[in-house]
Amino acid sequence: MFIQLVINGINYKVDIDPNMRLIDLLRDKLGLVGTKEGCGEGECGACTVIMDGESVNSCMVMAFQADGSNITTIEGLEENGELHPIQKAYMEEGSVQCGFCIPGMIMSTKALLDKHPNPNREEIREGISGNLCRCTGYNKAINAAERAIEILKEGAKNEA
């Protein structure tokens, strides 16, 4: 069956198998392999993408359910070769280790900041609580979210 959806600003019309999940569509069919599969049961969040404005585990969405949706994956964050402030902050704050959870973690952070531009540390902890990480102990990811908030504010100020 065919579905139509927008991924990272690009319109796609793709033929899918009814048994396909959104993560299979992204990775196997469209080559968007930045979205990772860590558990297949919605626990680890490595497959997090933003779907119609909200973070979802792409292993917990059937591909056909994404028909008509607007989806952002990690590949869609860079704009004109410029990293997104959250990506920059993750690099600067040393929040990355093995990296496998990072795309999902960044997408959750983005979903959080899109909705709540000024969360405190505890709210950031809650915002990334669906993203398991075994390397970092999370604290530097929280530092990065705080740093990203600063960069975003500076950006908004400069624009104004």
Partner: protein, 291 residues
């Protein structure tokens, strides 16, 4: 996975038609957080999947006179973000907020938890305490069912193959009533609950308990009313004295229900802390609100 056909439901009537056509071969999918796991591990093997997550009527929270009606495909996030649940319904919001993780709450639906009859579903005990009713439809007609009756041994009550859970409704508590909730999980996020407790308590001008419903999760085969506790507390003055009574009456129910189970000694004691938490939440509501 075994799917031959999948449908994106556009309207309720379309979904009911499809259910009528495919019956046992079909499964409803909304949030997908339970069903996709079942599909992947082969525990469920439908040939047809019908998505209801994009049907607006099923994903809205409405107030009609003295009732709140929540569409079955309403997500936990929608509930958490709704101001209706900020004051004396905070216990419901708290239960929904403690479900899984942001990603799960963004997809997982209130109806999914009921339809899948998950024994550890956090949102059910508060709904039972609220006396919630289910609205169920099929081409054969509509029926209403008390949520607490859904989770008992009578299989008849469960959703039949051609039926769709439309909504959950309950009376809005009065100002002198408050819904409390507490959950014991093994970690602070992504935690399946070991035990949950919820109570709707109404007090009179003399601060005596005028009406009460208590419900538990994971201390029986299914989420249930705790009538022994209700009977022990009704008419009592709302102060910390009730905690001992509440705990010991629940423990006496548990003694009948759980004895011999390996988790029994643990849960028997844990409920003390859960009652304390519910009590503290309720107290802070009553302290803040001028009745």
């Amino acid at each position: 996975m075994t799917l031959d056909q999948v449908f994106k439901g556009n309207s309720i009537s379309e979904v009911l038609e499809l259910l009528n056509q495919y019956k046992e071969d079909a499964k409803i999918i909304a949030g997908g957080t339970d069903i996709i796991i079942g599909l992947r591990n082969g525990k469920i093997t439908p040939k047809v999947l019908i998505d209801i997550s994009k049907i607006d009527e099923l994903r809205q929270i409405q107030v009609e006179e003295n009732k709140i009606i929540i569409g079955s495909a309403t997500t936990y996030t929608q509930i958490v973000e709704n101001e209706l649940f900020d004051t004396n319904l905070y216990g419901f919001k708290k239960a929904c907020r403690l479900v899984g993780s942001p990603q799960i709450r963004n997809k997982g639906t209130i109806g999914g938890n009921i339809a899948n009859a998950s024994p550890a579903a956090d949102s059910i005990p508060p709904l039972i305490a609220l006396g919630a009713e289910l609205n169920i439809s099929s081409l054969r007609g509509n029926r209403k069912l008390l949520l607490e009756d859904y989770f008992n041994e009578k299989e008849d009550n469960r959703l039949r193959a051609d039926e769709l859970l439309m909504s959950i409704e309950f009376e809005i508590p009065k100002k002198n009533q408050v819904l409390g909730f507490s959950k014991l999980g093994l970690r602070k996020a992504l935690a399946i609950s070991r035990v949950t407790l919820s109570s709707l308590i109404g007090i009179d001008d003399d601060v005596n308990i005028e009406n009460i419903r208590v419900a538990s999760g994971s201390i029986g085969k299914y989420p249930m009313r705790e009538r022994e506790v209700e009977e022990a507390l009704i008419g009592k003055r709302f102060n910390s004295e009730i905690l001992k009574i509440a705990a010991s009456s629940l423990q006496s129910s548990m003694d009948k229900r759980l004895v011999g189970r390996s988790t029994y000694p643990y849960k028997r004691r844990a409920v003390v802390t859960l009652f304390e938490e519910v009590y503290k939440d309720n107290l802070s509501y009553f302290n803040e609100v001028t009745l």
